[in-house]
């Protein structure tokens, strides 16, 4: 992943900025320009909103076979997390052993290094989640 491509998504990945539909009130992450429920009525009303960062694990896995940029972290836990606002995202679970992770477990976002591009020497940061 090159630098401009990562930089463009920093608001989402650093600060958990999503969208809230001004028509129906639903939250979305990452930001969207159109609400899938309200369609045309939502255009121009999708307001930027900072999500609270707390939620629970919907499902998870321990990754043993990873892409090269993530190999030095393995085995690591990937999870789908549902935030309290109702939006879901995919992230790593850290600061606990894989054996402790459970479906339904409460977790909270934390700011961490995501990966390192070996060739460019660039380090990418963003959210991971830890037990609450």
């Amino acid at each position: 992943m090159n630098m401009p491509r990562f930089w463009r998504e920093i608001q989402g990945r650093y600060n958990l900025i999503g969208s809230r539909c001004g028509n129906c009130g639903d939250y979305f992450f990452p930001k969207r320009d159109i609400c899938p429920k309200c369609h045309r009525k939502s255009i121009g009303k999708m307001d930027a909103v900072k999500l609270g960062g707390s939620g629970k694990i919907v499902s998870y896995t321990v990754v043993h076979d990873a892409h090269p940029e993530y190999s030095d972290m393995k085995p690591y836990v990937m999870a789908i997390i549902e935030l309290d606002e109702g939006v879901r995202l995919t992230s790593q679970i850290v600061d606990c052993s894989p054996e402790e992770v459970r479906t339904g477990m409460r977790v909270r976002a934390t700011f961490r290094k995501l990966a390192e591009d070996g060739k460019e020497g660039v380090i990418f940061y963003g959210y991971k989640f830890r037990p609450e």
């Binding site: 998504e9 990452p30 499902s59 896995t61 990873a66 990937m78 789908i80 894989p98």
Partner: protein
């Protein structure tokens, strides 16, 4: 809409074909299908090619023109050549587009192929390219892999419905048993539950033998309007129904990660168009990119009630000789999964079954067959229903 029929099929051996190039396999499947149909080049109105990522796999784009060129149709008849991409559903979406081009009255005879050459770049790179079908910005960058998303679907299915680790393994066991009977399959070796459970861990609870392999291969179909079809052959297989559906690209945005809604909607559209129900299907090729994919597919297609797919597999109700034989070709797991070719290869297998040409893996009296393909983790799904005509 006009009726459309399959009048020719061709397929290469699937596997790690290091001595053969993308164009070699694309042409081989094409020539076989054209010979099978008994047509000549001047009969062909258009060419569709399903291909996911030739640019990344072999550093060649513009592959529809390339195949048209080497089957000898570019310089003479200058036919339209169209590439279609929808990750693992590329071939199936190409098939639907080719179908529409005839049903609409635009074309009479169309060749639709699927091809992928995945093994030239090494496993690590090939896995990364295949993984491009998931959301690069909001899944991959956080460390998710294609297999890890399947693993989360598997865990959720196990926790919600009581699907067991052994039931997942049985999907692979049955597909290998079927694939052993298919001379074109990549792996022709029977395995047992222990083989799966002892294979290396990929993403818990899924292991190496839960996941389909990287493969090279190509498959081709000749489609014709029913009127044109009758001029060339009496072995006609009619396309009775075809449905396609979409869903969010990221798995986490789905309504329910234990069902593939794109499949549910594609199936409903295909069944409605064909005027049949799931119980009328005699043989099916479904998308087993992982063992959990197949369990979800046989539920989402309506063969078994939601949540009972694992038990149906354990009872071998999907094995040859039983209730509804699934993946008689060996499926993605055993036949192999050259991504863009898979959707076409599935239909080739169904046509063989409906013509009674499936030899040792023939389903007795198969009249109606179904093919099901998925792109990514379920952002695209296509269901095609075919019927053999006497």
């Amino acid at each position: 809409m006009r009726d459309v029929a399959v009048i020719g099929i061709g397929i290469t051996k699937f596997g790690e074909l290091w001595e053969r190039s993308f164009r070699d396999i694309g042409i081989e499947a094409g020539i076989k299908a054209i010979n099978d149909a008994g047509i000549s080049g001047s009969d062909i109105d258009a060419l569709y090619i399903g291909n996911m990522s030739a640019g990344a796999f072999i550093r060649q784009e513009h592959v529809a023109a390339l195949i048209a060129d080497y089957v000898g149709l570019a310089q003479t008849s200058h036919i339209p050549a169209i590439r279609v991409e929808a990750a693992g559903a590329s071939g199936a979406v190409a098939f639907r587009e080719a179908f529409l081009s005839i049903a609409s009255g635009m074309h009479d005879i169309v060749v639709v192929g699927g091809a992928e050459k995945m093994t030239d770049i090494g496993d690590e790179m090939a896995n990364a390219v295949q993984g491009m079908a998931i959301d690069q910005e909001w899944e991959t960058v956080f460390g998710a892999t294609y297999a890890s998303l399947h693993a989360m679907m598997a865990r959720a299915h196990m926790e919600k419905y009581g699907t067991t680790r052994e039931q997942l393994a049985m999907v692979s066991v049955i597909n290998h048993r079927h694939g052993a009977l298919n001379p074109d399959a990549q792996f022709r070796r029977e395995i047992n539950v222990d083989t799966v459970l002892r294979s290396g861990m990929v993403a818990e609870p899924l292991r190496v033998f839960d996941m389909c392999p990287l493969s090279d291969g190509a498959a081709t179909i000749v489609l014709a309007s029913m009127d044109a079809a009758k001029k060339f052959t009496d072995r006609i297989v009619k396309v009775r129904g075809i449905g396609q559906g979409s869903d969010t690209i990221a798995l986490h945005d789905r309504r329910d990660i234990t069902t593939i809604d794109a499949t549910v909607y594609a199936a409903k559209r295909a069944y409605d168009m064909a005027g049949i129900k799931a119980k009328d299907v005699d043989v099916a090729e479904v998308y087993d990119s992982s063992t959990i994919s197949e369990i979800m597919a046989i539920e989402d297609l309506g063969f078994f009630e939601k949540g009972t797919g694992g038990k149906a597999v354990e009872e071998e109700r999907i094995a040859l000789g039983n209730e509804i034989p699934v993946n008689t070709s060996g499926g993605l797991k055993s036949r192999g999964h050259p991504v863009g070719a898979t959707g076409i290869a599935q239909i080739v297998e169904i046509v063989k079954q409906l013509r009674g040409e499936a030899d040792g893996r023939q389903v007795k009296d198969a009249k109606i067959g179904l093919a099901h393909a998925i792109g990514g983790t379920g952002g695209t799904a296509v269901v095609s229903i075919l019927e053999g005509c006497e």
